[in-house]
Amino acid sequence: MGRPESLDDSDAPSMQRVEVEQIPTNSTPMVADLRRYSRHLLMPEVGLDGQRRLGRARVLVVGAGGLGSPVLQYLAAAGVGRIGIVDDDTVDVTNLQRQVIYAQPDVGRPKAATAARRVVDLNPHVAVDAYPVRLDAGNARDLVRAYDVVVDATDTFGARYLINDACRLEGKPDIYGSIFRFDGQVSVFGPDGPCYRCLFPQPPPEGTVPTCAEGGVLGVLAGLVGTWQANEALKLILGIGTALVGRLLLIDALSGRTREVGFESDPSCALHGAHATIDAVVPMPDAPTAQPPRGIVELDAAQLDAYLAEHPESYVLDVREPHESALGPAPRGVALPASVLMAHVKELDSAREYVVACRVGVKSAWALGQLEDAGFRRLKHLRGGLLAYAVARPEFEFF
């Protein structure tokens, strides 16, 4: 893939429908501070021409979290002329383990503006547009249109499909990265090559793929993957090297191994295949949520203690995995992790009443279906899981 088009002098994006906070900078379209970029200028692959290209480039970073933190810092340090930051969230203390663009005093502050100020602190020559909004079907194309390269540093499947579609329709490259626990994925979806939908035509059912908040993530993995995304963005702008187009890079932080899966444009892709059905950015239809089987009565966390008091014959069937149980014990709990539930199901009394519970209410919904199939008839579900139950209880570690 060639260089992104329209690397002309940076103009303030004309956003009609999107709230934008422009951070005052000393930005100029030219390379204003040659000494700063000395180590770039020394390499023939960058040089003065390349540094000027970086200075004229406009990159939109969607998501200022674990991936966005290294992306923003390296793009700013490299002298990318204009950076847009889209994030509607505020900094939470649980973000600091991996979102290294923020510091302790930032807890509670809006991410887009806070990250923008950090970018300007790093490099006052960078113009920054902070969009404290959620990317949605209504603003995605306007946002994407104003930039040359888009970095997908989001954390939901809905946003990933939105960015993919908006980039394709606007002819912009989409630099994709995603993480789960110790595993990362990186690829580049070019305006002409295969796209995210060619690789993953369908999002997984809601609740079957845990988010970082549900499943955890090694902080440094976000750094590895985000840094790789920043590298792909800089290569595209400079027109050097070989882009990760049609190649999905898999990073396994535990084994220290990477591998690559090649993929091509899918002739049946809904976005650009022979019979494409998508010609506008539309909200992703909600993926089916992991629901307990029909007819199962659900209890709210606030009801659980009273319910158990009134039903001394009932037990909480705790299907959390052992490492999740460190959160705290389930009240009147029988522990049987979901991963071994069916292997040990005969140890349960199918005539007894069980309130099935996990950490957040997803694995328990699956377990209810399995137990029903195995002949259990007196089942209830703890909606929202033991995390919801733990909120008001000082004896629980809440994380």
Partner: protein
């Protein structure tokens, strides 16, 4: 024949291992390997539509035949960021 299964993320958790060996009748397809795994790991079944099958590093379909010693990777999208 025996194929090596490589599993990522949630699928690795369901299989309780990132890699395992799977014995299959000769001529079995990638789809048959998935079905065989589902028989042992019921939590896999709802993930089929969003999981790509990758044989020796190349995307495959349910009908792609496997050969003794192949690696079949089960690749879900990751959501986190």
């Amino acid at each position: 024949m025996t194929v090596r299964i490589a599993a990522f993320a949630r699928i690795g958790e369901i299989l309780r291992s990132g890699t395992l060996e799977l014995s299959l009748p000769g001529g079995a397809t990638a789809g048959a390997a998935w079905q065989s795994l589902c028989a042992s790991f019921a939590q896999l079944a709802p993930l089929r539509a969003s999981t790509r099958l990758v044989i020796n590093g190349a995307l495959a379909d349910d009908g792609t035949p496997l050969h003794d010693g192949d690696e079949l990777a089960l690749l879900p999208p990751f959501g986190g960021g």
